[in-house]
């Protein structure tokens, strides 16, 4: 078995009287794809926001490799090698696709001479094009990011995260809003990313996507982890079935 790259232990997050995450623990193996699933409002995005430092956990510990992430600011966590995408894409819309990806390079460092030297060194452009090629967007490099179709924007966001050469890649509902065809393509890209040695944690509302992609699955419901295991075992877990189907209709309409 590979080493544990990421651990969250007993993470609790409250917003006023509402407990969004309650004593959640997960462990992720290096080089695997780990999916967190659950109905809407289960606390999946909150978990991501806690891990990436947007929120600070009220209780619990979060580790990446040997270092703790708890209490660090978002950009510090990013510099340690945690990259993420967002449920609704957050691109730098007025900037070109190339510039979006270049901003990911170097994890936010301002290299020597960065005050003076342009961002588009040959080395940077080559790396950015290489990353764009991985998501199939090398032809759109000079397009303004905001003008691309939504599916392409998702891929730019993924490329931007990949450009950071992260150790841990957090994908927040990567297939949301995509056509079936686009979703299948994206899943393939995610697998390729994993194959380069990057550990992937994804949050997914759509169980089929998550089950097809993940090596390991955790299920959240109302902020609590109710099941964990391989896709097959989780799929048969009665708690999970209840969470998804039992209150399915009413749960959806509250979203």
């Amino acid at each position: 078995m590979a080493d544990r790259l990421f651990r969250a232990e007993g993470v609790t997050k409250r917003f006023g009287g509402l407990t969004a995450l309650k004593d959640v623990s997960i462990e992720v193996d290096e080089g695997s794809i780990f999916a967190v699933i659950g109905p809407n409002g289960a606390g999946k995005t909150t978990l991501f926001n806690v891990v990436s430092g947007v929120y600070r956990a009220d209780e619990g510990a979060i580790w990446l490799g040997g270092s703790t992430l708890h209490g660090l600011g978002t950009h510090r966590i990013a510099r340690l090698g945690v990259a993420r995408t967002f449920q609704i894409t957050r691109l730098f819309k007025q900037l070109s696709v190339m510039d979006n990806v270049i901003l990911g390079l170097g994890r936010g460092d301002i290299p020597m001479g960065g005050l003076i030297r342009g961002p588009r060194s040959k080395e940077a452009v080559d790396k950015a094009l290489e990353t764009l090629a991985a998501v199939g967007l090398e032809k759109s490099a000079d397009t303004k990011a905001g003008t691309l179709p939504y599916g392409d924007q998702r891929r730019v966001e993924l490329a931007r995260a990949m450009a950071m050469k992260p150790r841990l890649l957090l994908l927040d509902e990567p297939c949301a809003g995509l056509t079936h065809h686009e979703a299948v393509n994206l899943a393939e890209v995610v697998r390729q990313v994993r194959d380069t040695g990057v550990t992937v944690v994804l949050v997914e509302h759509n169980m089929h996507v998550a089950m097809g992609l993940a090596d390991h699955v955790a299920v959240l419901d109302h902020g609590e982890k109710i099941a964990e295991g391989t896709p097959e075992t989780v799929q048969r877990n009665p708690l999970v079935i209840e969470a998804y189907l039992g209150r399915g209709e009413s749960g959806e309409s509250h979203a």
């Binding site: 978002t74 950009h75 967002f86 957050r90 936010g108 301002i110 005050l115 961002p119 931007r160």
Partner: protein
């Protein structure tokens, strides 16, 4: 000829101010409706350092820049805590408060202002207005060079990323705090430089020279030319600073035109004359494309 020299000098000062505001509002996307406060801080610092402390222009000017930038740093820290609209009100407030401080403390000459500010001298020769303009043109060239480098540097790209989406910038490891502060410091430093240049040009200054309407004028220049573009503020400053001089008939209607222009531009052409979505830029691009097309056809 001194008339032209005067107008040109003022245009140059406005180019410096507008370029500075463009760093803060155009590139970093932080509203700053109190730019004239930093213009004033630079002017008063330079005036006091030369008249009361006895420094020369050459020593006072960089110090004025540093002082304005230091206050800008404080505003930057404040900006980190505030939402966009609250920051806008706060910057307006800063302008009012700074002008009041000039007005209400004897040290700043109160309503009488500060007079007797020397023109700079080189090897004992005091620069006259045309010679001073030459100096100012050099300064503008230096400012534009720095801004040009900034706009094409990795730092400039990162600052633009902060404008576009702070959270996304954070998640890429960009130190948003430092980048915002850098923009505020850089932009207000330029305002301080403009202030110093102004003080030694006018040789006397009074608080109302730096009142809120001046901030609005500079904002108009940036927005008219195109915020976040390199040439936009320059073009805006040239147009708005020289238009009332060239067209005397608009004197009566100057503020009417400014105000109307600002509102209409923001509604229909928020990117300004040189901004990305501007009809002028698109029209120009189309024209270039058509000319090229013809060349290709004929060739």
């Amino acid at each position: 000829m001194l008339y032209l020299v005067t107008v040109s000098t003022m245009v140059c000062i406005y180019i410096i101010l507008a370029s500075g505001l463009n760093i803060i509002t155009g590139y970093a996307g932080q509203p700053n409706l109190g730019h004239a406060a930093f213009f004033g801080i630079g002017a008063y610092a330079s005036a006091l350092l030369t008249t009361k402390v006895g420094l020369s222009f050459w020593a006072a000017m960089p110090l004025a820049v540093v002082i304005a930038a230091s206050v800008g740093f404080v505003l930057g820290i404040i900006s980190l805590r505030l939402r966009e609209d609250f920051l806008a009100i706060t910057t307006i407030g800063v302008n009012f408060v700074v002008v009041s401080v000039f007005l209400y403390f004897d040290y700043f000459g109160r309503a009488l202002g500060l007079g007797g500010i020397p023109r700079p001298s080189i090897f004992g020769h005091v620069l006259n207005k045309p010679e001073y303009l030459v100096l100012v043109v050099f300064l503008v060239a230096a400012v534009l060079l720095v801004c040009w480098v900034f706009s094409r540097s990795r730092l400039g790209l990162m600052v633009s990323a902060v404008r576009e989406d702070e959270l996304a910038a954070h998640s890429l490891g960009l130190n948003v705090t430092a980048l915002k502060l850098a923009a505020f410091v850089f932009g207000t430093a330029l305002a301080g430089l403009g202030g110093s240049v102004y003080a030694h040009f006018m040789t006397f200054i009074s608080p109302y020279d730096f009142a809120f309407p001046v901030s609005i004028t500079v904002m108009c220049m940036v927005v008219l030319g195109g915020a976040g573009t390199f040439w936009g503020p320059v073009v805006g400053a040239i147009i708005l600073a020289s238009a009332p001089e060239i067209m005397r008939f608009i004197q009566q209607y100057r503020m009417l035109i400014y105000g109307g222009l600002l509102a209409v531009l923001m509604i229909f052409q928020p990117a300004g004359l040189l901004g990305a979505d501007s009809v002028f830029v698109r029209g120009g691009a189309r024209l270039v494309a058509r000319v090229r097309g013809r060349v290709v056809q004929s060739g």
